[in-house]
């Protein structure tokens, strides 16, 4: 092992008369790596951001689940093919997912751009940068693909096999795009906690995409009046949002505590 450079101090200890043990060097490097990783972790922001964006979409889900007065319910997905982000809007029971589709298009692209700015700002402030481009690119590319898919498959029927089965009909496909991004981000952040969050969130997103989770609440005694029936979509929307918000706030507290220690 080489000797020290004059004037060195702090972080990595000075070498004494002899060479340090390889084990000591490895332990120091592991500590440096841990500190660097803790410093650059900033994933609480996208978790909270997409949790808030999901909560903000709740009124649109309620509105989309409300049948228009004096009219038969229209299968929204079929009505808006080519005119709106169909897959993102889904086929709500009450009417059209037109506004829902546009909301998620703007929210997803805007959310990923905000996250990109967040990570850049965090890197400038802290001095270490997380490789978050893969996360941003995954989210944006998936969003664009999902928006273009109905249009493309209209002209190229062969692309119809790309349709995501029943996963889109409840208007919750945006959750699956968010989930895919979280896996990429967990790898970029090298965070087990975020990987666990991604797993839980993916489970919640798949569940609410394939199953009416309000049925569980009905069995537990929830019995909304007919006038409030459209509110029954809320559990399926708020469940993934709660996962994101709880994980994001926990990460915020943990990351703040580590940095102030």
């Amino acid at each position: 092992m080489s000797t020290e450079v004059p004037g060195e101090q702090g972080g990595v200890p000075r070498e004494s008369a002899g060479s340090p043990e390889p084990g000591e060097v490895l332990r120091e490097l592991a500590a440096v790596r841990r500190r660097t990783r803790s410093a650059r972790h900033a994933y609480w922001f996208p978790l909270v951001l997409f949790g808030v964006l999901t909560c903000a979409a709740a009124p649109l889900y309620v509105s989309a689940a409300t049948p228009p007065a004096g009219a038969n319910a229209v299968m929204g997905g079929a009505a808006v093919v080519g005119g709106a982000p169909t897959v993102l809007g889904g086929m709500p029971a009450g009417g059209s997912g037109f506004y829902l589709g546009w909301y998620w298009l703007v929210a997803l692209v805007g959310g990923y751009l905000l996250t990109l700015f967040w990570y850049r700002w965090h890197a400038r402030r802290i001095g270490v940068e997380t490789p978050a481009r893969g996360y941003i690119a995954t989210g944006v590319v998936l969003t664009v693909l999902v928006v273009l898919l109905p249009l493309l498959s209209h002209f190229v029927p062969f692309l119809g096999w790309l349709w995501p089965g029943d996963l889109w009909i409840r208007g919750t496909f945006a959750f699956l795009i968010i989930a895919a991004g979280l896996w990429i981000l967990a790898r970029a952040e090298r965070s087990v906690a975020l990987a666990i969050t991604a797993a839980v969130y993916t489970g919640a997103a798949v569940l609410v995409s394939l199953y009416n989770v309000e049925n569980l609440l009905f069995r537990m005694g929830w019995n909304p009046s007919p006038g409030n029936w459209s509110l029954t979509v809320l559990p399926g929307i708020l469940l993934p949002a709660v996962v994101l918000l709880v994980a994001g706030l926990a990460a915020f507290v943990a990351q703040r505590r580590i940095r102030s220690a």
Binding site: V5, G10, V12, P22, V25, R27, V32, E129, T130
Partner: protein
């Protein structure tokens, strides 16, 4: 300063030396502990700021610059100099050669620990890239 500079500075091994000994995997450019620190930090992030490296490694700006120069000349890092507003800012990014050299160095050190450090508490040290939090 007794450390040799550059990657080719190590004296040649005797012909009879055991080429498979872990020390044969040590590279003087990488092996210097502060340069090892620079590579470890930059391998953990997409890029690291000069100020962060200076504080994390407890080096003076002059010393850090010298270490960065050695690593850059060896092709193990890339140094990007720019401005943020009017303030100059230097970012350091590890190259693929740098990642490979770091992995080789850590493997050699781990192997040394395995061969000579059994039972001294060094076991269980995570390899590079491991230890997710």
């Amino acid at each position: 300063m007794s450390e040799p500079e550059g990657r080719g500075a190590r004296p040649p091994e005797p012909a009879a030396a055991d080429a498979s000994h872990p020390t044969s995997g040590l590279d003087d450019t990488v092996h210097q502990r502060h340069r090892l620190g620079v590579l470890t930090i930059t391998a953990e992030a997409q890029r690291a700021d000069f100020g962060y490296l200076r504080d994390a490694l407890g080096l003076t700006p002059g010393n850090l610059s010298r270490h960065l120069m050695v690593l850059e000349e060896a092709g193990l890092i890339q140094v990007e100099k720019g401005y943020e507003g009017r303030r100059p800012r230097t970012w350091v990014r590890i190259t693929s050669d740098g990642r490979a050299a770091l992995a080789t160095e850590l493997s050699a050190l781990t192997e040394l620990v395995r061969r000579h450090g059994r039972g001294n508490g060094a076991a269980g040290i995570p390899p590079a890239g491991a230890g997710e939090s």
